[in-house]
Amino acid sequence: MSDLKIQYKPADFKSDQEVRWCPGCGDHAILNSMLKAMANIGCPKEKVVVVSGIGCSSRFPYYVSTYGFHGIHGRAAAIASGLKVANPDLCVWQITGDGDAMAIGGNHFIHEIRRNINLNIVLFNNEIYGLTKGQYSPTSKKGAISNTSPFGTIERPFRPGELVMGAQGRFFARTIDMMVQLSADVLEAAARFEGAAVVEALVNCVIFNDATHEMFSAKENRDDRTIVLRHGEKMIFGKEKNKGLVLKGFTLKVVTIGEDGYTIDDILTHDAGEPNPAIHHLLSNMQYPEYPVALGVIREVKDDTYENLLVQQIADVQANTKIKKMDDLLKSGGIWEVK
């Protein structure tokens, strides 16, 4: 990402293409947050590239006015990786769905994370294959009914945060479609993070999996059933801001401040920068109703990026070689002349 900061408005990043998601689809909200985030980040528009796979969510590149690449199913990660490594100066967004990233694209997903390529990866998790009209996905809840699981699925789903950390993930954040400002904030944080940054956006597919996140995402209960984590701040949540998380052995526990002897001092402070992923693991795995669902930037640990190391390695080698151009190589080693 360039340092040059330009003053943009969200509308500057809007394309002239009609948005073709269903009315009410959660993807619309993330698009809006993204336009905000892009404007805020201020990376010159021509340096922004949005790469996607295939799925409803992967239509995204058509709706922003930057460079865009609508790839093939599951390969957004690989295409984006190649683009960023070839051209580290670009700000590359990868848009992908739970099917695109975690079914067919699962391998590229874990490898881009492991390699820590500086990509901003937005995973639209609606727990369903939307574009193909409603098959269960690797994130669908166990027992979910869909057209390919008419009697309920028999597979336990991936938890994206857990998988990301299992693959050495250094940045993981979560947001909900309706929380437009939070989404814009975490998207911006992801873009500013140098390395592979995964944002899990919980989105609603009104047509094929309506209300799958509703238990905790519905406005009425959201404050009590989710917790927005912020680095350096106490892990407090609830409409009354009186609930919090404490550590108990190897697990987290929800307590009410002022009850059972818990005071604000007992509440954990969020350290997104802790290299040991153990607590980030626990946080990202929290599930309603036992726990509030964690939102915000859960993990953000600096590390070298693949493309920087590559650029560095090339520079190091070039500084110490006599082979400066192809003619040099051609004439290196065992050659002889016929006169």
Binding site: E46, I72, R75, N107, H108, Q313, L329, L330
Partner: protein
């Protein structure tokens, strides 16, 4: 140098080194061929090794061979049969006896001919007495013992000693063919710079082998010399096909003023391309060892979108995996070179053997109407040229190009006259112009390529993808008529490349009886066969095809000038069937072989002779 009087002059010689996978035969062969090339011979080599890393010691399955052919005249192939066979153990003898010429010399390491090894090789008893009855000069050299002797002052660690036995054999052949030890001594000094003991040991053994040969009557009395070939003036080096391919790509990037990006996943026999490119950080090459072949090509497509000369290299099963993404490159009309080093198939097949059976897949192996350019290289060194050409076509015509080589030319070597970079053409990709309104699917009126707009360029923002796009504007389009237009444009764009490639040439006369058609890595053998038959006065001619899709525009016209056409391939007839489609009017005879091996010149001559007799 030795006494010149005892030298027998020969035009060409074939030597085959063979032993266990761990016996260092590949190194030995490479040393001999480099020495000969440096001396001025023309050389062609053929490494042939098992799929296992160290196949079971002493068994026929574990034998690793290296054949080389050097001459004072043009040498275009590694030879069918050898003048000298070096067999480091009974299994090597068993596996390779069939390749020895009548009257040929066989050097065996007789120390290894014990019961255990004989049994492992599948011999009931020592076969040498029996073989002696045949038309061979068999030299039973106690190579192990003599190596131990030579090394006794350096080390007595048996493992280290055994590892140098190949130098003994090499020394013997150096004597036999009147070569100096200089090149190899240099090599040993460089290679073992940090282990002077090891270097010293190897050198001693090399010399010991040389000296020993001198003491053997049958060798000393038949010492052979092959004078330097008359070669074009210039600077030469030995090169194998994979290195030449890698270098051709780097050269193309330099000529196009682009950076080179290679996204690949290792697979035999293509891995060496990735290895060479990974070593070329000095020239700024970016290699990305991907998690699989799909990621390999997809990273390359990303890099191509990003403005690099993008390449992915693989072999058969890997090309299968890349099919879908090649379609994406066809649809997005981005430049991309896909190098496929063919090996024996189907499925995992014969991973270390050669074949030409991925042509169908290169031409047809994708969903939808999905035309890609297909080019094939013919020899180790011209992999450079065709890799360069593939990149040129990809970049200038905005299309994926599949470059086919094969295991035989990929691993084989030959001397190569090094081109000056200034002698190569500039490559001029059709960049979109800054400041003009950019329409991603507007086209050059002649070539029909679209224009390349690189992310980072202000004002050229656009979106590509795998869905059908509206002509000119590039928005997603389901308009029926547009699909027809675009399908035909993609087809025609590739077809038009026939105007930007050389016309097909023929080796032989303008017209005649039999036209031999071949393609890719069979060039050397087919050429030898046709050349020798022509020299014997046969009415035979050769048309070797390198540009397969599109074919050169004059091919049909060429075919019409010969009475008969025979198409030779190391498959069941993939090019010939393609020709039946493209030029249905001709009758085609075919000659095919499916043994994981190159043709032999012999079998070709035999077959062509039969055809000619069937007048």
């Amino acid at each position: 140098m030795a006494d010149q009087k005892t030298l027998i002059e020969k035009e060409e010689v074939v030597i085959r080194f063979s032993g266990d996978s761990g016996d260092g035969m590949q190194l030995t062969g490479t040393q001999f061929s480099n020495t000969s090339a440096l001396y001025g011979n023309d050389v062609s080599t053929f490494p042939d090794y098992p799929a296992e890393i160290r196949a079971p010691q002493g068994t026929v399955g574990g034998v690793s061979g290296f054949q080389l052919h050097f001459g004072s005249k043009l040498v275009t192939n590694p030879g069918d049969y050898c003048d000298v066979l070096v067999a480091m153990n009974p299994a090597a003898l068993k596996a390779n006896l069939r390749w020895v010429k009548p009257g040929g010399t066989i050097i065996v390491n007789i120390d290894t001919f014990n019961d255990k090894n004989l049994e492992k090789a599948g011999y009931k008893e020592n076969p040498i007495p029996e073989y002696r009855k045949g038309d061979y000069n068999i030299v039973e050299a106690p190579i192990t013992t003599l190596t131990q002797g030579a090394m006794q002052d350096i080390t007595t660690d048996n493992k280290s000693v055994l590892r140098t036995r190949n130098m003994f054999a090499l020394g013997m052949t150096y004597f036999m063919f009147n070569r100096t030890l200089d090149y190899t001594i240099d090599f040993l000094n460089r290679k073992f710079g940090k282990k002077p003991d090891v270097a010293q040991g190897n050198k001693l053994v090399l010399q010991a082998g040389f000296n020993y040969a001198e003491t053997i009557e049958v060798l000393a009395s038949r010492r052979v010399n092959v004078v330097p070939a008359k070669q074009e003036k210039g600077v030469y080096r030995n090169i194998n096909g994979n290195t030449a391919t890698a270098w051709g790509l780097i050269a193309a990037a330099e000529k196009a003023k682009l950076e080179l990006f290679c996204g690949s996943y290792p697979i035999t026999p293509a891995t060496d391309i990735l290895i060479e490119l990974a070593a070329r950080k000095d020239l700024g090459v970016k290699t990305f060892q991907a998690e699989d072949e799909i990621a390999g090509i997809c990273t390359a497509i990303g890099a191509s979108f990003g403005g690099d000369l993008a390449v992915t290299s693989t072999s058969g099963p890997g090309l299968s995996l890349k099919s879908e993404a090649i379609g994406l490159a066809v649809m997005t009309e981005l430049p991309l070179v896909v190098v496929n080093v063919q090996r024996g198939g189907p499925s995992t097949g014969l991973p270390t053997k050669t074949e030409q059976s991925d042509l169908y897949q290169a031409l047809y192996g994708r969903n939808g109407e999905c035309p890609a350019v297909v080019v094939a290289a013919s020899t180790p060194s011209d992999c450079f040229k065709y890799a360069f050409e593939s990149a040129r076509i990809a970049l200038e015509h905005m299309t994926p190009v599949i470059l086919l080589t094969d295991g035989f030319i990929a691993n084989g070597t030959e001397p190569w006259r090094i081109p000056a970079m200034s002698s190569l053409p500039e490559i001029k990709p059709p960049f979109a112009k800054k400041g003009e309104k950019y329409q991603p699917y507007a086209r050059d009126t002649e070539k029909l390529n679209r224009f390349w707009a690189i992310p980072g360029t202000p004002g050229l923002e656009h979106r590509l993808g795998g869905l059908e796009k509206m002509n000119v504007t590039g928005t997603v389009s389901y308009v029926p008529e547009n699909h027809d237009v675009m399908t035909n444009l993609r087809e025609q764009k590739v077809k038009n490349i026939e105007n930007y490639i050389p016309k097909q040439t023929v080796f032989g006369d303008d017209k005649g009886d039999l036209l031999v058609v071949s393609w890719g890595g069979t060039y050397g053998h087919v050429f030898s066969a046709v050349d020798s038959m022509r020299k014997n006065g046969h009415d035979i001619h050769m048309c070797h095809i390198n540009y397969i899709n599109p074919l050169p525009s004059n091919i049909g016209e060429i075919f019409s000038r010969y009475k008969r056409i025979v198409v030779c391939e190391i498959n069941l007839g993939q090019l010939v069937n393609y020709l039946r489609v493209k030029h249905q009017d001709f009758k085609y005879l075919q000659y095919n072989k499916m043994m994981g091996l190159p043709f032999t010149v012999n079998e070709l001559v035999e077959h062509f002779t039969k055809i000619l007799q069937e007048k």
